[in-house]
């Protein structure tokens, strides 16, 4: 569990990016504003984790 906690911030960013990419593929140019806002939040919400990725 501790090991998982160490990579949680990177997991959040990578999974968040993947979800946003799928959303972008489905919404096209119409969704660019929403996706930009969500991506901005994802980048800012990256929580500082323990200093190890392994």
């Amino acid at each position: 569990m501790t090991r998982f906690a160490a990579i949680l911030p990177e997991m959040i960013l990578a999974l968040g990016g993947t979800v946003l990419m799928m959303l972008a593929a489905f919404t096209g140019r119409r969704g660019s504003t929403l996706i930009s806002k969500l991506a901005g939040v994802a980048a800012l919400r990256r929580m500082p984790g323990p200093n190890s990725t392994g």
């Binding site: 660019s32 930009s36 991506a39 980048a43």
Partner: protein
């Protein structure tokens, strides 16, 4: 790094929207690059170092050529990709040598191997190749050649991103690797870092003189600033590592502010303008905008009482305390040489005849970000010395 990525997303939205070429991929690519940077700076083994670096780089190659119909953007992307692939190859070769001679990928294991006695020739070659690969990513001299062309050709919000977050990530990764993984071989890597630092400071300062494009000028400024950060790295030890973190934190704010101003530069018809000559007489047509640019330029030059002075003082103090007074003196000389091209911009804005006025921007959020960055690098920034210093000391302390 992450606020810089968020600002790159927020600022780009208005910039691309104006030219009706905004699509969702941009923000997603920045998030992937941010994930890569996150892996890079928290890596404790050569494998995670490489995976993080490639995740960040692959997103960056696509971002550089984001404007598909623009020849310059495509050229920037291609150049970045080809030279980036070469740097990745050099880095991988170095990693394979380190692994071959130590039998481990972890930074701690490599440090233990170096601590066993005088390092073998193979280990030293591995160290040199890995540092060369990282120097490319941080655009330190002599691996800086891609920077001006890519910065000029890439869309301005992408250039703003390249000039801040990935550069900081590369410098922080180099610091982590040198202190944690190559700590016992400090005498070996310190010579390389000192050379790269001095070469970056002076080449960045001298090559910026003749530039007429503000993005190219800021590219050379970023090369110059990496040199100052490396002065802190050369000092090694907890104070040296802390000074690198402090320097990069303030550098990100100064560079973000400068690039946010460049994003606002548009002619009467709304087309982006990048020439330094177009700033002519800006103080008469747009005094607040000119004042903001002047603050960022003075701060990047390290002129007191602006906050940009303090991180330079911190890295030079770390170098002097580590016994590298000559390096600090050379760095101070480099600061004086480099100040010329920042002051040239201020001179153009305040002393030349007004050129064609810029279009009035309609981006209140971007204006707010410029104001915030200007306040942070103004003398008010000195209020942050305590909290920022304790944060960087704590982060640097975790490496020892």
């Amino acid at each position: 790094m992450f606020p810089a990525a968020a600002v790159a997303i927020i600022a780009a939205h208005g910039w691309f929207e104006r030219d009706h070429e905004h699509s969702s991929e941009y923000a997603v690519l920045i998030v992937f690059a941010a994930a890569g940077m996150s892996v890079m700076v928290s890596a404790t083994s050569l494998v995670s170092l490489y995976v993080g670096l490639e995740l960040q780089s692959l997103a960056a190659y696509v971002l550089a050529s984001y404007r598909r119909t623009d020849e310059r953007s495509a050229e920037a992307g291609l150049k970045y990709f080809v030279l980036g692939a070469l740097a990745s190859g050099i880095l991988l070769y170095g990693i394979s040598l380190l692994y071959g001679f130590t039998g481990t990928m972890s930074f701690n294991g490599i440090a233990a191997a170096f601590a066993r006695g005088a390092p073998s020739l193979g280990l030293l070659f591995g160290l040199v190749f890995v540092l060369a690969g990282l120097a490319f990513k941080a655009s330190a001299v002599p691996f800086h050649m891609w920077t001006p062309d890519v910065y000029e050709g890439a869309p301005t919000p992408v250039t703003m991103f390249f000039g801040t977050a990935p550069k900081a990530a590369a410098v922080l990764l180099a610091t982590r690797l040198c202190i944690e993984g190559l700590g016992p071989a400090t005498d070996a890597w310190r010579q390389i870092v000192i050379f790269a630092a001095l070469a970056s400071i002076f080449l960045g300062a001298v090559a910026a003189y003749g530039q007429t494009n503000i993005k190219r000028l800021l590219a050379y400024s970023s090369i110059n600033n990496v040199g100052f950060a490396m002065v802190g790295l050369a000092a090694a030890g907890p104070k040296g590592a802390s000074s690198v973190l402090f320097y990069m934190a303030v550098y990100i704010v100064m560079t973000l502010g400068a690039f946010l101003c460049v994003l606002w530069m548009r002619d009467a018809e709304g087309r982006p303008v990048e020439s330094i000559a177009s700033l002519s007489g800006l103080s008469q047509t747009r005094p607040a905008f000119a004042a903001a640019i002047a603050i960022f330029m003075f701060s990047l030059a390290g002129i007191p009482p602006l906050f940009g002075f303090w991180p330079k003082l911190v890295v030079f103090t770390a170098a002097v305390n580590a016994g590298y007074t000559a390096l600090a003196v050379a760095g101070i000389l480099g600061t004086v040489v480099g100040a010329y091209y920042y002051l040239k911009i201020v001179k153009v804005m305040y002393m030349d005849e007004p050129a064609e006025p810029y279009a009035k921007p309609n981006q209140p959020l971007q204006g707010l970000l410029i104001l915030l960055a200007a306040l942070l690098v103004s003398p008010l920034g000195y209020l942050l010395i305590g909290p920022l210093g304790s944060l960087t000391d704590k982060a640097a302390g975790s490496l020892f």
